[in-house]
């Protein structure tokens, strides 16, 4: 068994209302030094050892993200 992490983030040109809301809140909380926040999704998959990265990429492409608006990265832990 292996743990694979897929992080899905909105493409940089796409509006991220969630991140904006957080920046706004940090401002109101008086926290300084944070200039931008982007919020994405984080998936932790437990996969059999024989599951290769390209299989995970396919899952990420079709199910975990919409390539029209999102990018993803895959990492093994």
């Amino acid at each position: 068994m292996a743990r694979v992490v897929v992080d899905v983030v909105l493409k940089p040109e796409i509006l991220d209302p969630q991140g904006q809301a957080i920046v706004g809140a940090l401002g109101r909380l008086g926290v300084e030094g944070v200039t931008s926040v982007r919020q994405g999704k984080h998936f932790e998959l437990e996969v059999d050892d024989n599951v290769q990265d390209d299989a995970v990429a396919k899952i990420a492409d079709t199910l975990l993200s919409n390539p029209v608006i999102e990018n993803y990265t895959i990492s093994r832990k």
Binding site: P12, E13, I14, L15, P17, Q20, A21, N66, V68, I69
Partner: protein, 754 residues
């Protein structure tokens, strides 16, 4: 970055420009050069390309839509007619109501959640722009077959998007439609309607009047959203576009819009704007040219003042960006501080970006240089106009001749019972609560009727109980068979649905979803449907107040079923008099109003049982619709009936089942003597409704129908305690327990989407 300035354009007249890639035809480009007396700058080209796109200029449809203005019925209820962001109707007591429906079909296919969400967001801003508080939304949805894998991707996303945005705005969703047909598989239809309310003296118009007044851009920052969306995404088919070339779509921020709504309403209440326009398709290009064209005629804009989300955007992109949740207002210098203070209160970014002028030119500067200098009317109002070729489809005659009269029909009790159960469980007739339970229908506390009632109803005024009712309807199969009649059937159904609740239908909005206007057969469907709708509105006395055309809904060369979706708005003096759909009064008598004929062309029965489409749609009689509506409205006013439900797809059987289940009451039905049981139960003849009449009112009720000449026949009685629907015909009968009906009717959608 080299910016193309007016000066540069004059110096380099022969520089080649990508007009074709931007969707402009060669002669259109030539006309731009003629208007300007030089080649356009790339920013001007951006403006013309989006403003002259099908989506914004209505170049293929305008010629035909004129009929809505020419055949306008005599009415004193219209406060603002076609041409503004939305029409406005006088609802009485100083109330004005504005409503409009708009499509967001292509984006919803590409990214279902965001496509549908921004569809709701866009129409709500249109309504807000009129000066109204948005008070409800509706959604008319069409998908590919229920079993198609892609429907599983598209439908849940669309529904979550409609709900996600509307719920977050705090607008009740009070009705809509969900249909399935294979023709929509690669082209789902997502049509969103919004209705808003204001005082009659609070109507706002989109014009930039008063030279010297300031142009304020407020709301969200401008980003690279849906650049080219207006012309590329909404006006050209994208079926050959591979994943890599997928157009970028817009992402909505409903919270930003909610805040923008409250901010605008406070600004309106303080009377701080001269004119206002929302930024939708074609964004800043559209808002600046339209405001200027409708007002003093000119505007100077400093484009670098527009707040950006992405600092790398170039002027062309800023002009075409479809970033959501933005508005543009024209404000007098004296009112600017007040305006900005309200924006600050709501944490809404507001920036003065320009001034109104009477120069007759829209001039934009970027880093001190002039990049746009054009007569705004030519972009906003004087776009190209096409008389597209029209030709009756080659297969139309064959389609109408093969009317399916030989399709085997059930005759005996068991066969009729099976057919009933099969139909109520079929995709288009099954319960839609899997969809509608994802929509908030309670918020704002004025929802008197919502789905699954025949029309949604909203209380306008707590002190007087004045209210409005709306229904949206469409039927692509009827329209395919005979577009002229199909459009009138959709109109008639929406009109009837409104009257069924007790409200008087007053005005119409419409969303015309068709294939490519470059296909003469599609153009025939379109022109016929428009003619039918215009004639129908004239006959019913309900003017068209606005709407939207969506072309290019096709996969390859195969168009969708031609689908005009019609919204009808009505007003009711006293919402406590509304007529609900469910049977609730024990012993009440069930009457069938109207005439039932053997009409199965385009019916659900032919579709579900035989997979058949042919013949002619049911005949429409608009005088009869008016009569039926009058009777239903009077019955509501005089308290003669306890329930009413219009008959449409699936016919009497469907209506009986829905009234039983809605009221959780049984019914004993005896079909009229000598009538064909199958035809009586399943025919889709329009102009009909079922009502339940308390015994004490039967005489008054039948007297009224007789006096007015409305056919009415008693077909049964409500039996609250006997939990089944029993149907007697001739010497035969069948019955179905409510439990079994409910299971059949409610299981279909959950089984596919849960």
């Amino acid at each position: 970055m080299n910016v193309d300035t007016v000066e540069n354009a004059e110096r380099t007249p022969e520089q080649p420009q990508p007009f074709a890639e931007l969707g402009l035809a060669e002669d259109e480009y030539a006309r731009i050069r003629e208007i300007l007396g030089r080649r356009p700058t790339s920013s001007e080209l951006a403006i013309y390309s989006v403003m002259w796109s099908e989506h914004c200029s209505y170049k293929s449809s305008r010629l035909h839509l004129k009929q809505f203005g020419e055949k306008v019925p005599k009415t004193d209820t219209l406060l603002v007619g076609m041409g503004e962001n939305a029409g406005v109707v006088d609802a009485g007591d100083g109330w004005a109501v504005t409503f409009k429906i708009e499509s967001h079909n292509h984006p919803s296919y590409v990214e279902p959640y965001q496509g549908a969400a921004t569809g709701v967001g866009g129409i709500v801003r249109d309504i807000l722009t009129m000066g109204a508080r948005p008070v409800a939304v509706m959604d008319s949805l069409r998908f590919g077959g229920l079993d198609a894998p892609d429907t599983r991707r598209v439908l849940p996303g669309v529904v979550a998007g409609v709900g996600g945005y509307g719920n977050c705005l705090g607008l009740p969703n009070i009705g809509g439609e969900v249909y399935f047909d294979d023709s929509y598989l690669g082209n789902p239809l997502v049509n969103a309607l919004c209705v808003g309310v204001m005082r009659t003296d609070g109507i706002k118009l989109a014009k930039a009047d008063g030279p010297g007044n300031l142009v304020v851009l407020f709301g969200a920052r401008t980003g690279g959203d849906g650049i080219g969306g207006a012309s590329v995404l909404a006006s050209a088919t994208f079926d050959e576009t591979g994943p890599a070339k997928r157009p970028s779509v817009q992402v909505g921020d409903p919270f930003a819009e909610k805040v923008l709504i409250e901010c605008c309403l406070e600004i309106f209440a303080a009377d701080l704007v001269v004119g206002i326009q929302d930024l939708g398709a074609a964004g800043l290009s559209c808002a600046t040219t339209e405001l200027a064209a409708a007002g003093a005629g000119g505007m100077d804009v400093d484009l670098d003042r527009a707040p950006l989300r992405d600092a790398s955007l170039v002027p062309e992109e800023i002009l075409m960006s479809e970033s959501q949740e933005r508005m543009m207002a024209v404000v007098t210098p004296e009112n600017l501080d007040g305006f900005l203070a309200i924006c600050a209160k709501w944490d809404v970014l507001a920036t003065v970006i320009g001034t109104v002028t009477d120069s007759g030119r829209l001039r934009m500067r970027w880093h001190g240089e002039t990049i746009v200098d054009l007569p705004p009317r030519t972009a906003a109002l004087e776009g190209p106009l096409y008389r597209r070729p029209v030709e009756r489809p080659l297969d139309q005659d064959a389609l109408n001749e093969h009317d399916g009269h030989a399709l085997p029909r059930p005759r005996d009790a068991a066969g009729l019972r099976d057919t009933l159960l099969r139909l109520i469980a079929s995709a288009n007739l099954a319960d839609k609560s899997w969809v509608t339970d994802q929509y908030d229908r309670f918020v704002l506390g004025n929802t008197v009727l919502a789905q699954p009632e025949d029309a949604g109803m909203i209380r306008l005024d707590e002190s007087t109980n004045r209210g409005l009712a709306i229904s949206v309807d469409g039927n692509g199969r009827y329209t395919r068979l005979e577009p002229y009649v199909g459009a009138q059937l959709a109109l008639a159904e929406a009109y009837r649905n409104v009257a069924t609740t007790g409200a008087r239908p007053l005005a119409v909005t419409n969303c015309l979803n068709f294939g490519s206007p470059e296909d003469p057969a599609v153009m025939w469907q379109f022109t016929e449907a428009v003619r039918g709708l215009a004639d129908g509105c004239l006959a019913l006395g309900t003017p068209v107040t606005g709407g939207n055309v969506s072309f290019y809904n096709q996969t390859g060369t195969t168009p969708i079923l031609p689908t005009p979706v019609i919204g009808v708005l009505g007003v009711i003096d006293d919402v406590t008099r509304r007529t609900p759909q469910g049977f609730t009064t024990d012993g009440a008598l069930i009457y069938l109003l109207g005439d039932t004929r053997d009409e199965f062309g385009g019916s659900e029965w032919a579709h579900v049982v035989h997979g058949y489409l042919g013949g002619l749609p049911p005949a429409v009689d608009l005088e009869r619709e008016k009569l039926l509506a009058d009777v239903l409205i009077n019955c509501s006013r005089d308290g003669l009936i306890d329930s009413a439900h219009d008959l449409a797809e699936g016919g009497l059987a469907q209506a009986l089942v829905e009234s039983c289940l809605r009221g959780d009451s049984g019914a004993r039905v005896v079909l009229p003597e000598g009538a064909d049981a199958f035809v009586t139960l399943f025919s889709e003849s329009p102009g009909r409704a079922i009502v339940s009449v308390p015994r004490s009112e039967e005489v008054r009720f039948t007297d009224m129908c007789t006096a007015r000449g409305l056919p009415h026949v008693r077909i049964g009685v409500v039996d609250v305690l006997d939990a089944r629907l029993a149907v007697h015909f001739g010497s035969d009968a069948f019955d179905v327990p409510l439990r079994e009906l409910r299971r059949a009717w409610t299981s279909t959608l959950p089984a596919h989407f849960d």
